[in-house]
């Protein structure tokens, strides 16, 4: 390697009109939102809801969360996933982006589909990237699903995590009158600090 990485810096408090403008009612457009699935998207409709908490348990109102996931067939919309046996879904890109500053309780919400397992017999999951004022480097975590307990038990990444902390990566499934909701709170510090990954 000949070149050194450009250092990361915090997204700061004022990202909203640059990265999530429509959500925050600025005139500019944004490339992605929490509406990841359309009516035509294949797969089980799910809603992912959560809040981000600081080390004193206070809700964070200026975090930005990004999701990256496979489609219902377990295929990523990317040239590095060229597996024809798992079809692309023209109505699903797999990327979402939401800030926590537009809801009264600072919750984030993504309307998406449950991803298929990327390999047969493996646990499905969604990659999560977190940004906020006071976070110098974005943090990577993963969202696994509470209704996949037996597959989760075999997952190589989850098995790298101390068993007492694994629950921080499991979104809990609730059947509501408005559909399937998974609850995924993120704790930056404290006894329930979310596990963040390095890869």
């Amino acid at each position: 390697m000949s070149l050194k990485q450009t250092p990361s810096q915090t997204v700061g408090p004022y990202f909203a009109y640059g990265l999530t403008a429509e959500q925050y009612h600025y005139p500019q457009s944004q490339i992605a939102s929490g509406a990841m699935a359309s009516d035509e998207t294949l797969g089980e409709r799910i809603r992912i809801v959560g809040q981000v908490f600081d080390g004193q348990g206070e809700r964070i109102n200026d975090a930005m969360i990004e999701l990256w996931q496979a489609n219902a067939a377990g295929r990523f919309d990317h040239p590095n996933d060229a597996r024809q046996s798992r079809p692309l879904d023209p109505n699903f890109k797999g990327f979402g982006r939401v800030g926590t500053g537009t809801t009264a309780d600072n919750s984030f919400r993504f309307d998406t589909i449950k991803p298929g397992a990327v390999q047969d017999g493996r646990a499905p999951y969604i990659s999560v990237i977190l940004f906020m004022r006071g976070l110098p480097n974005h943090a990577y975590t993963r969202l696994y699903f509470s209704d996949e307990a037996s597959l989760n038990a075999e997952d190589p990444a989850l098995n790298k995590v101390d068993s007492a902390r694994r629950d921080t990566l499991i979104a809990t499934r609730h059947e509501t009158s408005t559909g399937v909701e998974y609850r995924f709170d993120i704790h930056m510090q404290g006894p329930h600090e979310t596990v963040f990954f390095n890869f």
Binding site: Q5, V11, W68, K93, F95
Partner: protein, 232 residues
């Protein structure tokens, strides 16, 4: 064989950098857990020309209502490369910044400096086949913040990039050469000496457009992602 270069932690700030006070309660406190990259880390969202409007690369024009924005017009260009020096082609670069007076359009910005009715302060562009990007804007002003008494952020432009996968994702800030506030800024200084200087753009008379705009060069190096596409 697919490989991703690791995050080079000698090039990045500690998650908890006490001089930058809001890291104390927001920075990751436990050790990161090392995992092996899978297809989810070798892939990521690919945005192209379909998300670009005709004025997205020109912040001096994309917010105009009734005239030119106030301030010093500049052109910012550079190459996005991986650690091996290979260009990162066709990747999206999103930027946002304060106006010439140091005021953000963001509703939460209460700094007592004027908004500019002709400046929004955000835009985006794509790198070309050689990894080059280029946008026009107004030089952002410094602004005060609450980290400590008489704290001022140096002039800076926020950058967000994707690169080839979620592993190459980068959000950073570009600074200007010779800014006396750099030596006093805990956000800039949270990055180790020897690395932080990579966030300072170079002034270039060659990039400067005669009679029009001062030119700055800001090259960006992302983590290297070398993947062989997964086939059936």
């Amino acid at each position: 064989m697919s490989t991703i270069t690791k995050r080079d932690w000698a090039s990045h700030a500690a998650y908890i950098s006490p001089e930058y006070k809001s890291t104390l309660l927001r920075g990751v406190s436990q050790s990161l857990v090392d995992i092996d990259p899978e297809l989810s880390e070798l892939t990521g969202p690919a945005y192209g020309a379909e998300v670009l409007g005709p004025l997205d690369h020109d912040l001096t024009k994309n917010g105009q209502v009734n005239g030119e924005p106030q301030g010093e017009r500049i052109v910012v260009t550079g190459r996005v490369l991986d650690e091996n020096g290979n260009p990162v082609a066709n990747t999206l670069v999103e930027v946002w910044q304060a106006n010439a007076a140091g005021r953000y359009v963001h509703k939460a910005d209460q700094h007592d400096a004027p908004l500019d009715p002709n400046f929004l302060g955000s835009g985006r562009c794509l790198t070309d086949a050689n990894g080059c990007y280029r946008f026009y804007t107004i030089k952002p002003g410094a602004y005060p913040w609450g980290n400590h008494s008489n704290a001022w952020r140096p002039n800076h432009i926020h950058f967000s990039l994707f690169g080839p996968s979620i592993a190459s994702r980068l959000v950073t800030q570009m600074y200007f050469p010779g800014d006396p506030l750099l030596a006093l800024d805990p956000i800039y200084a949270s990055v180790p000496a020897g690395a932080r200087e990579r966030m300072v753009a170079d002034f270039s008379i060659d990039v400067t457009e005669e009679g029009f705009a001062l030119g700055y060069i800001f090259d960006i190096v992302l983590r290297g992602v070398n993947a062989t596409p997964m086939e059936d």
